[in-house]
């Protein structure tokens, strides 16, 4: 069902599949992307998510929001989760259906507690040069949840109109 694209020393793996419900009707298209942890490869994610969001019919503003949220999640996973250790993988799952786009990002780090992340809107934090990534993800997407002690983030953007 899936198609894998890789070279002999796989840097970037892509797999596309569909998930069917009990009646055999196609429900979701699922795209898996697996990258080594390098901030240079964020551009791969940038290109992929732009294409997906555009194909799903999200408008320009929504596409920019999705793009920003996914880039923030990717940078968090690569920098903070995997410490830019290129031997560690960062995995992405894009789940597309009529109702919504779900993006799951997983790193191989030790995780973190969302509740311990400072509020970037607190006046005492406004001039800090970092710490806005999760806030922006939560602002841009309809829901953002953390799983597996923070090693997995699941983000959902609802389609505003069905076609």
């Amino acid at each position: 069902m899936g198609k894998a694209v890789s070279d002999s020393s796989p840097k970037v793996n892509v797999e596309v599949s569909t998930r069917r419900n009990a009646l055999g009707k196609t429900t979701d298209q699922v795209i898996h992307l697996d990258l080594p942890s390098s901030t240079q490869l964020v551009y791969v994610i940038d290109a992929v998510i732009s294409e997906i969001a555009s194909d799903m019919g999200f408008d320009k503003e929504e596409t920019e929001q999705i793009n920003l949220a996914v880039i923030e999640a990717a940078m968090n996973a690569i920098k903070h989760g995997n410490g830019e250790d290129s031997s560690k993988r960062t995995r992405f799952e894009f789940i597309l259906n009529q109702e919504q786009l779900t993006v799951v990002v997983e790193d191989q780090g030790v995780g973190f507690n969302r509740d311990n992340v400072a509020d970037p809107l607190d006046p005492s934090n406004l001039l800090k040069s970092s710490g806005r990534g999760i806030f922006l993800m939560e602002t841009c997407m309809d829901s953002v949840t953390f799983e597996a002690s923070g090693r997995i983030v699941r983000m959902v953007k609802l389609r505003s109109a069905t076609d």
Partner: protein, 116 residues
């Protein structure tokens, strides 16, 4: 991302083009830091022209905040020019509108650096 540097009436104008995301942001930081270092304390007047910036993430935002604090510390001033669309939204939701002076007109922006 490309950054053009020009001087106009004592103000350093950085014309930033493209996507200021991920590791590209670090290049912008390096350029801004070099410019700040090359100027005397109190003489750092910097205008960031964001009109051709297509996207910016939190690291890009962090770079301009770091520039703001660095320039303030030296008694200088930084302002933003042609901030629109998603970049403006980013600044608004992050509550940075009270920190950055924003202009849509370059002449007015340059003039603001020479007002008391």
């Amino acid at each position: 991302m490309n950054v053009g540097i020009r001087r106009k009436e004592g103000v350093t104008v950085l014309d930033i083009e493209g996507r200021v995301i991920g590791s590209e942001s670090f290049a912008l930081k390096s350029i801004i830091d070099d410019e700040i270092r090359s100027l005397q304390d109190g003489e750092v007047k910097m205008l960031l022209n964001m009109g051709q910036v297509r996207a910016m993430d939190s690291s890009g935002l962090g770079i301009i905040i770091a520039a703001y604090t660095s320039i303030q510390r030296r008694g200088g001033r930084i302002a933003l020019l042609n901030v629109s669309g998603n970049i403006n939204s980013l600044i608004v939701v992050s509550k940075l509108v009270t920190i950055f002076d924003r202009y849509d007109d370059e002449e007015k922006a340059i003039l603001s650096f020479h007002e008391a």
